[in-house]
Symmetry: C2
Subunit: 481 residues, 2 copies
Amino acid sequence: MFSDMKIRDNKFVYIQLKDYIKSMILKGLLRADEKLPSSREMASMLNISRNTVMYAYEFLQDEGFVYIKRGKGTFVSDVKVNTQGKWNIDWEDEINEYGRLSEKLDIIKHETKWKSGMISFKSIAPDENLFNIEEFKKSFLNRMSIEGKKILNYGYAQGYKFLIEYLLKYMENKGVNTSGKDIIITNGFTEGFDLVLSCLTNRGDNILCENPTHNTAIKIMKLHGLNIKGVQIGKEGVDLNELKEKLKEGKFKISYFIPSYHNPTGIVMSPENRAKLYNILKGYNIPIIEDGFNEELRYSGAHVLPIAAIAGKGNSVIYVGSFSKVLFPGIRIGWILSDKVLTGYLESVKRARNIHTSSLDQAIFYDYLQSGDFNKYIKKARRIYREKYEFALKCAKNYIPNREILGEGGMHIFIKLKDINSRQLLEKCCERNVIFTPGDIFYVDDKGQDTLRLGFSRVSREDIKKGFSIIGEEAKKLGGI
Amino acid sequence: MFSDMKIRDNKFVYIQLKDYIKSMILKGLLRADEKLPSSREMASMLNISRNTVMYAYEFLQDEGFVYIKRGKGTFVSDVKVNTQGKWNIDWEDEINEYGRLSEKLDIIKHETKWKSGMISFKSIAPDENLFNIEEFKKSFLNRMSIEGKKILNYGYAQGYKFLIEYLLKYMENKGVNTSGKDIIITNGFTEGFDLVLSCLTNRGDNILCENPTHNTAIKIMKLHGLNIKGVQIGKEGVDLNELKEKLKEGKFKISYFIPSYHNPTGIVMSPENRAKLYNILKGYNIPIIEDGFNEELRYSGAHVLPIAAIAGKGNSVIYVGSFSKVLFPGIRIGWILSDKVLTGYLESVKRARNIHTSSLDQAIFYDYLQSGDFNKYIKKARRIYREKYEFALKCAKNYIPNREILGEGGMHIFIKLKDINSRQLLEKCCERNVIFTPGDIFYVDDKGQDTLRLGFSRVSREDIKKGFSIIGEEAKKLGGI
């Protein structure tokens, strides 16, 4: 019986033996009060050391699976493995409306999946080959040596103090007046946006945003039961005339904008329009949630203040920032800069949701930021993504016919094909192992059927060229060109 | 003007210079098209190298704060710093009911705060001095060298594959039949419990639990608008007769229990009662959320199966586990084991909330668990907390009069004082620099005014003795003994 045990190389043998005996007890193959082989017998049977067996028996005793009778040996405890009659619940029936809607709006579950060998333009995640792992390790080891034990125990809901201080300075460096404001650290933009809506909105409230807009934001707004009113976006950002019209339609609780390298269009709202937008919303007293999306990636040219900076001493802008768009999204660090009173409430909601964001991750990020490694990284990343953007733009112009290309940068290109349904195009391209994101998922109405987003950050130049030319060929066929 | 800049030692000088010039531009102290000193002049003014200045200027150019005219020098860009008229929102008025309730139920904000020099029995966090930082570092470096770049980019909502596989085995080792079930990784128990309620319950639903129970769970149940029906807990766990009575009172959507070292009482539900509880709830078809709280800490004695194991092949138990109670709570790793269909919905809700739990933290934890370091740690931790528990129990018996002590282990002692109000007692003790958690916060009704929880995990033996004797003295005065 025991000799059936297969010892594997990659795990401590005492753990393997312990787990093996445990599983036999749990399966009822070893009965209560049955005597186990002596450590000597077991050791010789398995060809392992006697110490290993004794160590395994000691753990089993600790965990209550065996007991030792002095001078008599080791015996199986009565662990009462009798399970009760099968009781099954049809969980499909138990899910509430929120759960169902979450699943329905879960794009990852319902969109075309990547398969090996495909060229995928779906992702707008940063290229991990640009990450400098050595610098990241250095930051980890540095924080560990300074305050490792502290970081590994519970922290504060608002976040890791040094990171908050750093980010306050960082926002001041963007021109934001931080007096009367504070920062809370979140698990990325997604949590930040969800916390803000959780704290401020009620089902049925109206919310104003660009159309198209970030699909995760659309999902979260829908999950909060909000009425989403989208305003068309043009080359200078949101259409201010349409905005004024929309504002007459009803009372708005809040608004949401992505002024820099807007997702999905890549449009940068001009400084003039930022100020105008601010003043229009001021007139109606509608607070602004500003999504700092890709702001870190902005290439040279004129510096553009975030809307939060235009607000000066005013407290009407809630800025949600995240580094995940450019660096280490796997560690999930974002932040909300807002009025102190609001931050206090956000802190309580955050604590009720998950206590706090990993202190380890916050501490490493802080170290990485303040060491200057981030500055070096962002300089490199900006240059590389800029070059890649220009290359992708050229390919798009060369290969994809009959199109309008919006935006001026970022990690993706947004194309209007005109008269071609992008889901039909996707189906055709998919047959040729090329996939992308159909643009309709970014629209808050039923529009955008003729648009697509092409993320290129993790695709090689060779594949960009190849993939775009396939998209172009299939578009030509569909468009009858 | 530039010579006012103070150069600090702990930061790269080019970053300091860049930030200094940036802030002068943002403050309007440097005007558009103004010429900056040449790199040579600036270097000599600040007594730094010319390269440093050139590097800072290069960054400023990248970020759009300056422009360079060939052969003429470096000039300030027009960054349009004009902020708009002040617009303030009274955020206090904007917070919704959920935000307000979160704040109101936020114990951290409203309970007595620790001050330097106090002996605090409030925490039941693990003692970080038991953490082995070297082994943790080893796990980090190991994962980094194997798949560092991958871990730092986006991961999956369900969690890090290797950790999920490990935990499925881990649950099987507890006697749980995992067929037809799956695991999702969460940011600790708090998020796990919140996700489950988010997915299954509607406002106004009835939920059944022990009374008293985990105060964070009470908060989350209240935030979900549930009607909480508490069943008294005795030495063998929840009172089954009272449970049967309660079940007649209405329809229950779900139930929540902490069978091992129950928080706050420290009671372990007997194997017989676990089976009985399971069968009673089966009769009414009320699913069970089992809180694995402190199960990892269970000291020797008979092994007790979790309720999830009693269910055998049945899918009616949702097990929410967390290592945060014993190890590295700062990195926030928990998990939910449940029916596969339910896991699918939980995954979509998790994705909508924060995309996924830090892949870095999951990967380190996985490495730490599978290396055997966790086994070694838990053996040590069990012994140390057991000894400490026994010491604290002895002190409580010696010093605190007129009391009933519940439970049999864990990191805290729960005391019923009888006829003494624990908040009055806290006030008196606080004057003598001793604080603890008044027990009423764990009750779902208005009971427990005469109870208190004493967490000892992070308190030295000397302070346990001293603190308990002060509590005893003050209790005697209040009780007139």
